[in-house]
Structure formats: C-alpha cells, structure tokens
C-alpha cells in the first residue's frame, strides 16, 4: 500500500491502522523503558533535597535547582503515577488490543483450516527430503507411517496412481494462539492492577505492644477504618545463636470484632495475617520513644518454687521462699562490655536486653549484676536461685503493612496465563508434513515435504533421524 492510499482512507481506519502497527509497539517499548530509567535515577516520592543532591551530582550545582523545577513540573518526582506515564501504559494497552484483534481472524482461519493433500511433490518446501528405498509402496506403508508418527503428526492418506500414496498431517496448529494468549495475559494483569488501584488499600500500622487499633494509615497519614480492631500482644526479634544476625521477626496479633476476640495469629515475615479482606504483613519494627515497659521475670527459689512477676524499672521483687529482695536498678536494650569490662549500650534497638539487679537480704547487699535475656548463664545467681529474664514488654512496636487488594487474584490469573502463553509461543510449533511414496521399478521413491513455524531445525533433525532408521531397516 502506498502513501496516497493511506491518505484517502477515512480517519477512523487510519487510527485503527496506527494502533495495529508493530512499529508503534516498538516505539512504546522504547519510550516506557527510557522514562522508567529516569524514574529510577530520580528517587520517587522522596524529599526534595534528596533529589536536588542527586541532580547536583549529575548536572552541577548551578543547574540543579532549575532542573529540579522542570522535572517536578513534568511529574518525574512521582512518575509512575503521572498522567503521561499512565497515558503511555494506556496507549500500550490499546496497541496490544487493536494489534491482536487485527491479526486474530486470520490466525483463527489458519488454525481451523484442515490440511489438504498436495497436488504435486515438485513443490519447494523449507524441509524437503528425497530418497529411494527397496520395496513397493504398499510394503513400505507401515514404516512410512512410523516416520510420520515420530514427528508427532496424525497421518491421513490419499491414494496416488500406480499403487502410490500420499500420507500427510499436521500438529500443533492451535499453538499459533500462543502469542495471543501472551498478549491477553498482559491485559489481564493490567486490569488486575487497575482494580487494585481503585478498590484496594495500601497502608501501614505501627502498633506498640499492648495497644489496639481499629484503623490503619494511608501513606499520607490519613486514617482508614478497618471495621475491626487489631491488638499487638507481643513482638520479638529472634537471633541466630548469639550472633547479631536476625533470624526472625514475630508479632503476636489478636483480631477483635464487636468486642469479641475472633482470631489470634503469630505473624512472621513470609507469614501474614489475613482477616476481612485485609492482610497484615510483618514489615518493620522499632522502639516506642520514652516508653516505660514491664520486665517479665520468672523467679525460682529453693525447692523449685517458681513465680512470674511483672515489674517496672526501680521496683522490687522477692525470690519465692527466701527473704531476698531484688531491686531493678538499671536497664540496657543492647548491652555489651568494652575491653576494660565496663558495660555500655551499643544500639538503641532491643538487640541484647539486660537488667541490672541488686539483691539484698535485710540491709546487706548480697550481690548485684547484669541479667541478660539472651544469655541463660546469667540467670543463675551465686546462691543457686534463678531469675529468668523472660521479656521487657511494652516498649517495642511492630510495623505492619496493611493491604487490601481485590485485584491481586486477577493479576495472578494473568501471570498463570502468561506462563502458558509464553510456553506455547516459544516451545510449541505448528508442523505440517506430506510424504509422497511412488513406485519406481523395484524400488519406491519417497519425497517428504515439511514446514514448521518455529524451531525448524529441530523438526529437520527429527525427520532425518527417522528417515535414516527407515533406510537402515531395509
């Protein structure tokens, strides 16, 4: 078609052709890729100063503020939500739909078309093998059938004159749909994402130990009612042995609806809580500023008498079955000792909690020392009594990601379809084979013609192997 024809077409047809072209797809691939690169260089949704520093490094101090203003006006600071990026994605979707609709009818016709015998074996095909074998065509029929079957094709028969015949067949004709299944899956994933954007919720909830909340917070801090309440009963970080390497983060959560506890669950990083369409993920943690927590201590006196006490800093407790009074004098969230044996706190996170307890019997100080939660050796006192440091409770908060995304199942469905589509598109092919067998004196002439729309080399090797087997068998 030349330019003049194009110009004569009505506007709508031209618009259709525009969206049906693979060239537009190529342009869109490039535009989306390049703008995404910019989006990764500029930190998204970051404070302005941060990106100005980045720009200063790239374009120099004097130009950076002007650059920043231009980029900000163009939406690059929250690019993936900007009108033009969303427009690019929409164009991409339209391109995909129109392009597939344009080609689908032809492909469907091609797919449903039954294979017909060829009029002559003199045709040129991408794969063409000619050989002569002893025996009449009829004697060879079984073996030729085997060759065709080895290619994975169901054979049909069409007799030729002089006792010859033509065997032919096709397989995998529906594999031509693979590309369209793949394209459809992309649209399904996009639909899933849009459902998530319009009907979902993405937020967070920082919940201190012992607290209850009936809202979560959106990114900008606005509260979002959940319709039920969540309570954090406890939060713990577990470490690998005595190392500082965290092994697990755990939150003990309780869901309360209409005043009743309806669910309890211990969540971990890959193990969220799901309730009422919302999912709560363990995502971070921290210390509540200025909180005064409760020390949970399990005391064991003579004769294995045990008792669990809940005390605050500065309070006292009594070892059961004795007159010994413990006084909680000091606390450290992360205790370590320097080279001279002096204690110090190495981080303000609760990495290695310890309490300093002074024990008195009457007025006399019997002993005093640090009791560490992670070191059971320090729980046994010189006189054989034990003070187990169970927890320092009420000072940490658990950081939860709260999400509701009714579109996620659509996205997953799209992913499954995409996997199927890609498999079909790349690993299956439409194969067609025709074999002519004709009498030639005492021998038979075999001509094999074949095509495949993908991976022709593999088909050719298979054909060569099975023909060799046939020849050797004679």
């Amino acid at each position: 078609m030349n330019r003049d024809d194009t110009d004569k077409k009505p506007f709508l047809d031209r618009l259709w052709d525009f969206f049906a072209s693979v060239r537009l797809a190529i342009v869109l691939f490039a535009l989306i890729a390049v703008s995404s690169i910019i989006g990764t260089v500029i930190e998204q949704n970051a404070p302005a100063e941060k990106n100005i520093i980045v720009l200063k490094r790239l374009v120099g101090d004097s130009l950076a503020p002007a650059f920043y203003r231009i980029l900000e006006a163009a939406g690059f600071m929250d690019m993936y939500r900007s009108w033009w990026f969303v427009t690019l994605l929409m164009l991409f979707a339209i391109n995909l739909i129109v392009c597939s609709l344009e080609r689908l009818p032809r492909i469907l016709r091609l797919m449903r078309e039954p294979i017909r015998p060829l009029d002559s074996d003199k045709r040129n095909f991408p794969i063409k093998k000619v050989l002569r074998v002893k025996g009449s065509p009829e004697e060879l029929r079984e073996e030729v059938l085997k060759v065709v079957k080895a290619i994975g094709v169901k054979a049909e028969n069409s007799p030729l004159k002089d006792g010859g015949y033509q065997l032919y067949g096709q397989s995998g004709n529906w594999s031509r749909l693979g590309v369209y299944i793949t394209h459809l899956s992309i649209l399904i994933i996009m639909i899933g994402a849009v459902i998530g954007i319009f009907f979902g919720f993405k937020g967070f909830l920082n919940l201190p130990e012992g607290y209850t909340s009936d809202v979560a917070y959106a990114r900008d801090g606005t509260p979002h009612p959940l319709g039920f309440s969540v309570r954090c009963d406890d939060f713990e970080v577990e470490f690998y042995g005595m190392s500082e390497m965290p092994k697990d983060y755990k939150s003990w959560l309780t869901v309360i609806k209409n005043g009743r506890e309806v669910m309890r669950k211990v969540i971990e990083v890959n193990e969220p809580l799901k309730y009422g369409g919302y999912t709560f993920y363990q995502s971070s943690y921290g210390m509540v500023p200025n909180a005064r927590g409760i020390f949970i201590l399990k005391l064991t006196g003579p004769g294995m008498k045990t008792e669990t006490v809940f005390k605050r800093l500065g309070e006292t407790f009594q070892i059961p079955g004795t007159n010994i009074i413990g006084y909680i004098k000091d606390y450290s969230p992360a205790l370590a000792f320097d080279r001279n044996g002096n204690p110090y706190t190495y981080t303000d996170m609760m990495n290695n909690p310890a309490v300093y307890v002074e024990f008195k019997e009457g007025d006399k100080i019997k002993y005093a020392g640090w009791i560490l939660k992670r070191f059971p050796r320090t729980w046994t006192l010189p006189d054989g009594n034990r003070v187990e440091f169970v927890d320092y409770w009420g000072v940490q908060y658990t950081g939860l990601q709260v999400r509701k995304d009714p579109g996620v199942w659509v996205v997953y469905l799209g992913c499954i379809i995409m996997a199927i589509g890609l498999y079909v598109a790349f690993f299956m092919s439409h194969k067609r084979v025709w074999v002519f067998v004709t009498r030639d004196g005492k021998e038979s002439a075999i001509t094999l013609l074949a095509t495949a729309n993908k991976n022709r080399g593999a088909l050719e090797r298979k054909i060569e192997a099975s023909l060799k087997r046939l020849q050797r068998g004679r």
Binding site: V22, R23, A25, I26, F29, A30, I32, A33, S36, I37, G39, T40, V41, E43, Q44, Y80, A193, K202, Y240, G241, S243, M245, P246, K247, D248, Y249, E268, V269, N270, P272, T279, Y281, S283, S284, Q401, V402, R403, V408, V411, Y412, C415, M418, A419, L422, Y423, A425, F426, F427, G457
Partner: protein
C-alpha cells in the same frame, strides 16, 4: 576438602580456559581447542562439586544455629553465591552450544565473561562466607526467583556474546553506526575491568558488604580525590575505546578465520533469547512479584530493582518484536541484544552499586 578448594580450582580453570580459547582462536590448532574444552569441562565439574559441598555446609550451619531449613534449599543467598551460580549456568549453556554446533570459537567470547565475573568477585573482595538467611530470604518463592533469574541471565549472556560476534563480523567500515556501537561497547567493558583492577591494586580491600564496595568502587580512578587522576582516567578511557575502534578489524579477521556463518550467530542469539525471555518472565518478574507480595504485601512497587527488571524485559520484548518487522533484520536487532545484556548487568549490579535501592535483598536488613 571443602567447597572453597574446588571453587578455587574452577576459578583458576575458567581463567586458563579463557587463555586456551583465545590461543585457539589465534593459532587455530585443534589440540589447543581440545585442551580448552577439557579445561572448561574439568572446571565445570569442579565447580559443580564445590556447589554441592557448599550446599551441605550451608545446611549444617543452619542446623547448628537451630533453624531447620529444608535440604532442598541451595545456597544462593548473597551476591557472591549468585554470581558464581551465574557463571555455572553460563558455562553449562556454553558447553551445550559447543557440543551441539560443534564450534569452539564462541568459547573465546564466553569464557572471558565468566573470567570477568570471577575477577570482579576477587577484585571487589566481596564476602564469600556462608551467611545465615535473614527472615526476608526464608522464602521458596525467592529461591525460585533467584535461580530462574540467573538461568535467564546466562542465556542473555550467551546471546550477548553471539550478537557481539555478529556485529563484529558484519560491519564493514569504521564509520558505520553499528561498528562504532560495538567498538565503543567493547571498549567500555575493557575500561570497567581495568578500573576495577586498579581499585583492587590500589586499595586491596576486602569489602564485606555492598556498602564498602560502593565506597571503594572506582575510587582509584574516576572517583579519586585527586582531580588529576580523575582527568587522566577519562582521557585513558577515551584512549582505550579509541584503540578498540582502531584495531577492531583485527578482531574481525580472527573471527572470520573460523567458519561460523552469520546465520548461525543470528540463530543462536535468537534461540538463547527465545529461551531466556520466557524463563525471565516467569522467574525474574512473576516469581519476584509473588515473593514481594508475600513478604511485603505489594507485588509491584516500582522500586529501582523491579523497574530495571521491567526495563530489561521491555528491551527483549523490543528485540522479539523488532525481528518480526521487515527491515529490522541482522545488525539492528543484534544491537538490541547487546543493549539487553547491558540492562541485565545494570539490573543486577548497577542497581545495587550505583542506585540506592531499598530492594537490595530486603528492606529489613
């Protein structure tokens, strides 16, 4: 004998193999070629042994620490282990091609990529220790994600080697854009290797984390405190690229001496991408999204690592579609295959080293 012993053998072996393959390319002696293949196969076997030994060590360490991980969890958790796994996949893919196409000439392009990665490991001195899994990594989806990603990276790496060879063979004059493209790309790779080598010689640091790596990368050259060295580095780089541009025809003559047809190179490039693309889609994008969904509650958050994976995906989608269009045959699509691998390398290393991502193996660390 522990895993590092066998890893050591394989590292030395791959570097030797590179020398033999290049010697084979230059002298065209069959014996040298056979030796090159033998050395590669031996190193590959040694690396495989090392991998399984490390697997056992990894499993035992977790049991000692009281975490019952599955025996089916391979030790692919940090930058070092994943790069080594990449080399393993690359060599496996290469050996399959060598036996299938009965042509050794690709070896001279593939083994340098492996040697480069291993040298990168040594030069940056990244930590080789077995590390226990932090919580975010204790997921089977992540495991599937990492393994399939690296298989696809290896396929893309092979496509990169063949497309580069294709470009070298098919360009006629020093002024045509495709010639300038490949000579500058190859020149840049050489400059990067030299710069990292200088870092290593200058500081000889053992970087234990990507933080320290970030601090020392290019500190001996482009990011030096002395402005003179910075200027000299840029001039030196331009000079190296100029040399590659000037002597490119020598490379072409060497490759031409082997009967690798253009069509074969083009065919291998397409096939590697035709395997790599679906594997990358499933493993790199879909498994990654599922993992993110389970660990953080968002399957897609446009963070730099994810975005770069998507960019890589788009470049290869570009490649596949460009091939379907008339007029986009040969050199043009080969350029796209080279650009695709640059995107792969940036996704894996650039994002961690150059862009500050929150994604570098879990934000909880």
């Amino acid at each position: 004998m522990n895993s590092s012993f066998f890893f050591g053998i394989s590292t030395v072996g791959y570097i030797l193999a590179m020398v033999f393959y290049i010697a084979y390319l230059v002298f065209r002696s069959r014996q040298v070629g056979v030796v090159a293949t033998a050395v590669t196969v031996t190193s590959f076997i040694s690396q495989t042994i090392a991998f399984f030994l490390r697997w056992g060590e990894f499993y035992q360490m977790h049991h000692k620490l009281g975490l019952n991980i599955s025996i089916f969890r391979p030790p692919i958790t940090n930058l070092y282990e994943s790069l080594v796994f990449f080399v393993w996949c690359l060599i496996l893919g290469y050996l399959i091609i060598e036996f299938k196409y009965k042509n050794r000439a690709f070896g001279a392009f593939v083994t340098p990529v492996s040697a480069m990665v291993l040298a990168f490991i040594e030069m940056t001195g990244m930590s080789k220790e077995i590390q226990p899994l932090v919580p975010a990594l204790q997921s089977n989806w992540l495991l599937a994600h990492v393994i399939t990603s690296f298989i696809s990276y290896a396929m893309f790496g092979l496509a990169f080697a063949t497309s580069l060879m294709y470009l070298i063979k098919k360009t006629e004059t020093k002024t045509e854009p495709a010639y300038i493209f490949w000579s500058v790309s190859l020149g840049l790779i050489i400059v990067l290797i030299l710069a990292m080598g200088l870092d290593y010689l200058r500081f000889n640091v053992v970087a234990t984390s990507s933080e320290t790596m970030k601090k020392f990368l290019f500190k001996a050259t482009f990011r030096s405190n002395s402005p003179l060295i910075v200027v000299l580095s840029w001039i030196g780089s331009a000079f190296v690229i100029f040399l590659v541009w000037l002597y490119g025809p020598v490379l072409k003559r060497i490759i031409n001496a082997f009967n690798i047809s253009d069509n074969m190179l083009d065919d291998i490039t397409y096939r590697m991408i035709a395997i790599g693309f679906p594997v990358f889609t499933l493993g790199g994008l879909i498994f990654g999204a599922i993992w993110a969904d389970q660990a953080w509650g968002v399957y897609w958050s446009w963070d730099p690592k994810e975005t770069w994976s998507l960019i890589t995906w788009f470049v290869y989608a570009f490649f596949l579609h460009a091939r379907l269009m008339r007029g986009w045959k040969g050199k043009k699509v080969a350029v796209v295959a080279v650009v695709g691998f640059v995107a792969v390398a940036f996704t894996y290393l650039g994002v961690n080293l150059l862009l500050s991502g929150l994604h570098s193996y879990g934000a909880l660390e």
